[in-house]
Subunit: 265 residues, 2 copies
């Protein structure tokens, strides 16, 4: 199973939208996917029209150790399952502050469960706290949605530093798969400058022993497309809501870029 | 001095852009403003081209009690001052977890300082943790930037609940000034639906004893405008970078809506 943490501490860059629709795109191409909501906002959960308060346990209970993994998995269709969450997850940061190896709880819970999926995608909150660290310790790969804006660029360095620390101390297999430009508006000078900045940074790292030495900016850009913003209000993925839209096209193209196993050169 | 917390736990809805450019718009109209960065991402600080590591203390030191208020204030021009921050502020959540009345530290530090400004605007991180609580205890009014998307709507109820709790227990004068639609794209069905939802909620609360009984959606919508996303890369406000742009127009119009004191009916 390929397991990917979708993260960026910058808010509103398309983490949830990417986790849902990349997962759905991989499913369209025949893969079996499990999507995990690690954001107390529970937007991945809401995106599937799930009521976070319906009593089904989720990532909060997994981290608190009060539920079995099998009881937390909701089947959406034959290829997509979801582990949802609710706002109580926000308390995890303080509740786990003094727990030994608090970053490893999710990894240990999920690995004990022997999950039978092709892909696991984890949606992270806009922060680099204990919830995101649990995702980084569980995942083997990191996918970073990026809005090609100046403010969007600010935190990327710190994001890489955090990934490096986790790789050094807790999860040696962790690598950065790549960055995907989202809400992309072609042709603006700003976007071109940001892409150049990131490209230069990645090229300079090619021969260094860092988790992002094989990372790249995916050639697929997720274009700004209102259908992507509308689909969660119907509890649907972009493929169920607007299968012929740019949004559906772009996420299918992104899935195609991910599908051949990424072999290091 | 009118003091406003600019917040919404949803990421990427224009909190920083609004704090900077509404502050600048109020300054354009003659007011003296102080802008406070309470987000560890330090994007307000970066927006003014300030190097967060230049050694000048900021909100982290204020909360830790290791610097005097007067040493934290940076003068940008004759009408705008900034209290910046740096990434270390992210540690405040855990460092203050056991401090008595941790939500009131900023309020007490700023009120002891006898600030001489017309407006204070505080930029909050995308969460409702201790940093945002400090802003809510310091402010008298709350301004909520909102993107008219389904996911953007999810957390508004909880945001109001948090404001109500703070008003009840810690800051009885706290009221919700209103919501401002940002990155607005006219004419989409989604936007109209979201606006209707929020309007209905606010109208129903008119006669209730809640902090948002006088709140409204500002008639000024901040239109999506790439100049707003470009200006921080030059360390400038929209008025310095593109004074004739939609962005400048919209923030001036928003300032005009704020300027007559909001008298309860
Ligand atoms: N390509 C796109 N085109 C148009 N709208 C989009 C696109 N991608 C995401 N959106 C919308 O933009 C908003 C932000 O996206 P999303 O919530 O997925 O970001 P996020 O990074 O998960 O945010 P947060 O930091 O709050 O978790 C949402 O309302 C979403 O519906
Ligand atoms: N009206 C607008 N038109 C175009 N771009 C905008 C507009 N307002 C903000 N932006 C851009 O959108 C991105 C998100 O805005 P901003 O960073 O101000 O949101 P935020 O709520 O402060 O995010 P965070 O939750 O990460 O603190 C930024 O890159 C900003 O430059
Ligand atoms: Mg999200
Ligand atoms: Mg911000």
């Amino acid at each position: 199973m390929r397991s990917i943490a979708v993260l960026n501490q910058k808010g509103g860059v398309g983490k949830t939208t990417t986790t849902v629709n990349l997962g759905a795109a991989l499913a369209e191409r025949g893969a079996k996917c499990i999507l995990v909501d690690l954001d107390p906002q529970a937007h991945l959960t809401a995106h599937f029209g799930i009521d976070p308060k319906d009593g089904t346990p989720g990532t909060y209970e997994l981290l608190a150790g009060t539920a079995e993994l099998k009881d937390c998995i909701r089947t959406i269709d034959k290829r997509i399952s979801v582990i949802g969450t609710r706002i109580d997850l926000a308390a995890a940061e303080v509740e786990l502050a003094n727990t030994i190896a608090r970053e490893l709880i999710l990894r240990d819970t999920l690995s004990a469960g022997n999950l039978k999926y092709d892909w696991m995608l984890m949606d992270c909150p806009p922060s680099l706290g204990v919830l995101t660290l649990n995702a980084l310790c569980t995942a083997r790969e990191v996918l970073i949605p990026l809005q090609a804006h100046f403010l969007g660029l600010q935190g990327v360095g710190r994001l890489f530093e955090t990934v490096q620390l986790v790789a050094k101390r807790l999860n040696p297999e962790l690598t950065v798969l790549g960055l995907v430009l989202s809400m992309h508006e072609k042709g603006t000078r700003l976007a071109a400058e940001v892409v150049d900045d990131v490209d230069r940074f990645l090229t300079e790292s090619r021969n260094q022993d860092v988790p992002w030495r094989h990372a790249r900016i995916f050639s697929t850009r997720i274009r700004r497309n209102v259908k992507l913003a509308e689909s969660p209000s119907y509890g649907k993925t972009i493929f169920q809501y607007a299968p012929k839209s740019h949004g559906a096209e772009d996420y299918l193209a992104l899935a195609a870029e991910l599908l051949p196993p990424v072999k290091p050169e």
